[in-house]
């Protein structure tokens, strides 16, 4: 497991990139909901596209497409993995 300082956030990942989630730095209800949708450590998320106004951004996770606002994607830590 990498040190947190080496990690980047999902928010910073670019469209088309794949992102390995390593840490979900959220607490409580939202954390539980994100976990249920497949945003779990060990999952690979693909960044799809931003909404016309720039935010939210859609991601492919667990075979589905989920949109997150930047407030959430900034709290998902991990690393961009090469295709």
């Amino acid at each position: 497991m990498k040190d947190q300082s080496d990690m980047t956030t999902l928010y910073l990942a670019q469209s088309g990139q794949k992102f390995l989630i390593q840490k979900v730095k959220i607490k409580g209800d939202l954390k539980r909901r994100l976990l249920d949708l497949g945003f779990v450590p060990g999952s690979v998320v693909e960044v799809l596209k931003a909404s016309p106004l720039g935010d939210p951004v859609s991601y492919r996770v667990a075979g589905t497409v989920i949109a997150l606002r930047k407030e959430e994607s900034q709290l998902l830590f991990g690393e961009v993995i090469q295709r």
Binding site: R32, L35, V40, L48, S51, D55, I66, R69
Partner: protein
């Protein structure tokens, strides 16, 4: 030690600060296993097909095309509704008129008293048949078309496109979904706000839902737009202009929604938007026939039920008020004369305000009540064609300003009775129910007043 105590002893087995960690671990394992199972039993044969929805999203939610497509689709829905509803509406009206002839004959044959004929035929029957013939055709087109878009999976994309605007105004992203429900029926949309979990944002959605015109207000908007706004155009252009005006009204309603949400989240409902996630499910080709039949059947039954339950008694009430005299003026006229100065100030008249007030139980009946009021006999006329209808309005001093302000008032005014009842049920608060009544009313009065002053000030009418 009994069962309950032994369970209690086990209840705090994990320290509170480790709970999130345990859950994360459990769900990670679950998804790990899910992935493993998938890799054993699912073969991806065609990546192009699999990601087709995402390709479509690149168009439907594109920076350049996302908004134009959204507006275009809305316009197409309105155009189809307006273009398609005209003929069946007049056919239904003719049919009801034809039946009425025979009912009147039957009343005469039985030597029924004049007042009974007035009450049952001119009040009840005409009120009901008006609502059915004016409401049914547009609804039977609008809702199936809308249902097709919904079943195709387009609505979540609208929420995705508009999310930022709602976030800026302090509202929940799913509010656009509850607004879409409002196109059908605001009362039902109030119930649908349950999908918003945060109480603050749910209240915003409840308080502003009324700015989306419902089922009962479409005919008013369409009719007035077509009679007064699209003057000078004929044929397809006429329909197109009418659709544009109606769409403008809807967009104005959305702007007001965002503004009111923004103001409320700076004042009475202070707070920042809560976290949320939005799923964009794959586009699915809807079952055409099934969707169309189901949506139009449901709507037919809904409109018919409402016509019987609300329009019929209101027709009777209006007839009674118009036919009971105090001095040499009917009760209805007394009421109208009382409201008239205020109505004039708002660019409308006393009859229109009276119709909105008596029509409070259901927006569907506002226009029929207005017509009943205008006709000195106190009964709803048989409106053979649109020109005759327009003549009634013109005879009563209408200008395009009157029509515009009635449309604005219809869009912005207080929620109907059913909606208010549902708001009370959902909020369980008299205070918020009153607020839900007061905000739109104040805005409707303010906007129509301002519009009337400006337009008269410039001498445009």
């Amino acid at each position: 030690m009994d069962q309950q105590q032994r369970l209690d002893a086990l209840a705090a087995v994990t320290p509170a600060e480790e709970l999130d960690h345990i859950r994360e671990s459990i769900v990670s394992n679950l998804f790990q296993k899910s992935r493993e199972l998938c890799s054993k039993s699912v073969v991806i044969q065609d990546k192009n097909q699999l990601y087709k929805s995402e390709k479509l999203d690149r168009i439907f939610t594109s920076k350049v095309w996302g908004f134009p497509i959204m507006l275009g689709l809305l316009g197409v829905v309105f155009y189809l509704t307006i273009a398609g509803a005209n003929v069946p509406s007049s056919m239904l009206a003719n049919f009801f008129g034809w039946v009425e002839g025979y009912i009147t004959l039957a009343f005469t044959a039985m030597n029924a008293p004049e007042w009974l004929h007035g009450l049952l035929v001119l009040g009840l029957y005409r009120g009901t048949s008006w609502v059915v013939s004016v409401m049914l055709p547009p609804m039977a087109i609008f809702f199936p078309v809308f249902a097709l878009l919904e079943n195709y999976g387009y609505l979540p994309r609208v929420a995705f496109n508009l999310d930022r605007l709602f976030k800026k105004s302090g509202a929940h992203g799913k509010q656009s979904l509850t607004m879409a429900m409002g196109f059908g029926c605001n009362a039902a949309a109030i119930m649908s706000t349950r999908i918003i979990e945060s109480p603050r944002e749910r209240m915003l959605a409840i308080l502003t839902n009324n700015f989306v015109p419902c089922n009962g207000r479409w005919p008013t908007l369409i009719l007035l737009a077509s009679l007064f706004m699209a003057v000078g155009f004929t044929g397809g252009m006429h329909t197109l202009v009418t659709a544009f005006v109606v769409m403008g009204m809807v967009l104005f309603g959305v702007i007001i929604t965002l503004l009111v949400s923004w103001m409320l989240s700076k004042t009475a409902l202070k707070g920042t938007p809560s976290h949320y996630t939005l799923e964009l499910p794959p586009y699915r080709k809807p079952k055409m026939l099934n969707t169309i039949l189901r949506a139009s059947l449901d709507k037919t039954i809904y409109v018919l039920r409402r016509a019987v339950k609300v329009a019929a008694p209101a027709g009777v009430l209006t007839w009674v008020l118009a036919n009971i005299y105090i001095g040499d003026t009917s009760i209805l006229l007394h009421f109208v004369q009382f409201l008239d100065p205020f109505g004039q100030l708002l660019g409308m008249d006393g009859f229109i305000l009276m119709a909105f007030i008596i029509g409070m139980p259901a927006n569907e009946i506002v226009l029929p009540i207005l017509l009943m009021g205008y006709l000195s006999t106190g009964a709803l006329t048989e409106v053979e064609d649109m020109a005759a209808l327009k003549q009634i309005f013109l005879d009563n001093g209408w200008t395009w300003l009157t029509a515009l302000n009635m449309m604005l008032f219809s869009l912005l005014h207080f929620p109907c009775g059913t909606t208010l009842v549902n708001i009370f049920k959902e909020t369980k608060s008299w205070k918020w129910t009153f607020v839900a009544f007061a905000i739109p009313t104040v805005i409707a009065i303010g906007v129509t007043f301002a519009v009337a002053q400006v337009i008269r000030g410039f001498g445009w009418v």
